[in-house]
Amino acid sequence: MSEYVLFKHLIDPEVRELAHYVKLGGYEGLKKALGMEPVEVVEEVKKSNLRGRGGAGFPCGLKWSFMPKDDRQKYFVCNADEGEPGTFKDRYIMSDNPHQLIEGMVIGGFAMGATIGYVYIRGEFQFVADQLQKAVDEAYEAGYLGKNILGSGFDFDLYLHMGAGAYICGEETGLIQSLEGHTGQPRLKPPFPAQVGVFGKPTTVNNVETIACVPDIIRKGANWFLTIGPERNNGTKIYAVSGHVNNPGVFELPMGTSLREIIFEHAGGILDGKKVKAIIPGGSSAPVLGPEHLDVAMDFDSLKEVGSMLGSGAIIVMHEDTCIVEVFARLAEFYAHESCGQCTPCREGTPWMAKIIRNIENGDGREGDIELLYDICEKIIGRTICPL
């Protein structure tokens, strides 16, 4: 069994309580960070090769280093929108090991000079937010949040902000808009959030899982992190497996574990012993893989090589009886439903595609439909504000 970096509740089920978390070395990373220079903390995260777990795999330390070093108010925002179909990982960190996220937020805030943090949680996760809020209250009481944290002179306030049902708010500028109280319509970039983010101030947005990796990186050192997983893809990853498997669920494994191992060893293999037909390896936005790709290492670079992506690390498994057209139709309808509606190509194009695919699925497909779909796709991709 591998090391649990994020899922410490598998070591101690009570770790959601502060005392238990501290027993496992909790808040040691924060103490250590507060004794360092902020830039040193950023450097350490850079050195660890920690890459964003929210979808794009962007190096976390590098992102932190983009934050300006002036005396403007800065914000550190945690993306807990978890809306990508197939993804259900961040919620467990928030409900079962919440202090690790809180600790990561404070360290990040300290490193970037942000004194206010928000956790943007999808609205449906009220019960998850309740757990996290409990931990936040505990952390305030123990002096890990609030004024003059651990006597360091550093202040950090953390607030939870509930979404209200819009997948697009997972996109970082949509999230910023939503946090400011607007519709979640993504913004034009530039300006980038590090310059003009939430409330017009420099902002960094990171995924829950990304942030939760930070305390251990600081506590144990970047070099320790580099020992896990393949080069440039270090650390553990939470793989969320769903669909036609016997034992669906979330598994924290070293980055680069093969798809086969995840599906067959951890997720119990395919339902009723059937054959694999297709796998979506990184949430619904990731291109579909066939059974020939079962041996691919589940990390950013390897998946890119086979033409897909790690995305959120959500693995959706489909067995031989699955109608792939039906799956595509459902996904196309999802994207049409979740288009924020501002860009012409996405607003008009996604429902058109969904209708065409649904027609094919109903047996009413027409000659040329597939070519038409490709053509529409081409006219949407890369021509919109966000990459929905």
């Binding site: 509606g341 860009c343 012409t344 890369g382």
Partner: protein, 507 residues
Amino acid sequence: MMNIKIDNKEHSVEEGQTILEVCRNLDIEIPHFCYHPGLSIAGNCRMCLVEVKGMPKLMTACSTMVQDKMEIFTDSDVVKEARKGVLEFILLDHPVDCPICDKSGECDLQNYNFDYGIDQRRSIFPKERHKVEKISEKIYKNDNRCVLCTRCIRFLDEVTKTHEFTTIERGSHTHITCVDPEGLDQNPFASNIADLCPVGALGLNEFRFKKRVWLTEHVRAVCPGCEAGCNLTVDLHTKQTPLDPNVGPVVRFTSADNYSMQRFFICDEGRYSYSGYNETERRLLHPELDGEETTNGKAKAFLKEALSSELTGAVVLSPLASVEENYAAILLAEQMGYDLYRPSPFRKDLPEPALFIEKIKAPNHRMMKLLEVPKVTDMESSDYGVVLVLNSIGSIRDNSLVKILSLLKRAKYSITFEVERSEFSENSKLALPAPMFLEEDGCFINSSKRIQRSTGGLGYPEGVRPLWEWLFGNRFTNSESLLTQFSNEKLGIELSYEKIGKEGVEL
């Protein structure tokens, strides 16, 4: 300055501009819907995509700043393809009911589709239909035609800050809605959204089904409504067809962009004032002597008699008349040694929001202020033998009006230069018919001392001649020569109509 290349041609351009702005200044067309010079950048329509060398994706010209050595392609195959794509998406649900659309003829979608669009519909799905709605006394909305550029919303959020509109829902269900129809009717700028709308989704009830715009002639004018001097596009009804109801001759006022003033909108009061120029019942079209129609010859003889009478004289200028007309009157005063006066302009409280609207309800008051002409109400005696009063009724205060009337009544030779029969014309011996706004070229100096030119698209009606012709015969051949002389003598600069151009010159 930076050097860039657009479509393989080198240009030297100023920093801090977007690709779209640069191209606009160079007269290179970049089709766009959501961009508007008076609003924030939304970047949502995706119509303005251009190719920038070294960029993996097409860039929106409206939001991308030019950079030194940038190479831009506005007409490559990918760009054309992208425009086609956007137009196809828009037309998926667009009714293309141009024959009954008031925007037809000046619709961006219609024009772009003609220039860049597709010829064949590839979607087999029926178009969605929504009812046309009269959303307020002023405005109607046709959701079927809306391209969701959000210009209307941004105008009401950013410019008037009155927030009557919003988008509701999302995705393909997104549409605009008005939450406050009364507010919209009270908004002194609301009707601009009909100009702003790049398609026929928002229109003025007042203009609905009234006129095909391509049958009108457009001239650029300066609004006479107040001292702000907004630029107007005036639609004149010149060509009549049997299918075309007889409206006009002035069909409507819309805003004309003035980049130098950074002004792109007009107030509703100014906009709807156009209809006043179609009322002709009270129009003075012949000289009148003692209230009786007379010949030009007799009028001239009276004028001559007055000017050679060697009596004291007074000339009352007008904040409503152009620089040229007023200057003709000034020249007369100077030549004859008459006293010059100006009436006090009419003032009105400002509406909310006022933006650029001015309290002073006359377009050329600033000229008189510049020349430091004394107020007629400050006049000590009012006994003059000869009095000439320029057309100003409707733009002056009551105390000035009373004073002018008493001047006219006491003078032996009282002369007015009037557009309509008025208290002035009725109380003077000689009333000369004056051209109205839009009948004569002329300049006006607005509250920020910008001199701007207004075009007299309608021309002089029969019998109506400019003031300088009455006063000086053939000495001036056109109004421009007066302007030039005025600028030389009074401003110490040389101006011509060309120099003033479309957008005027700040003094």
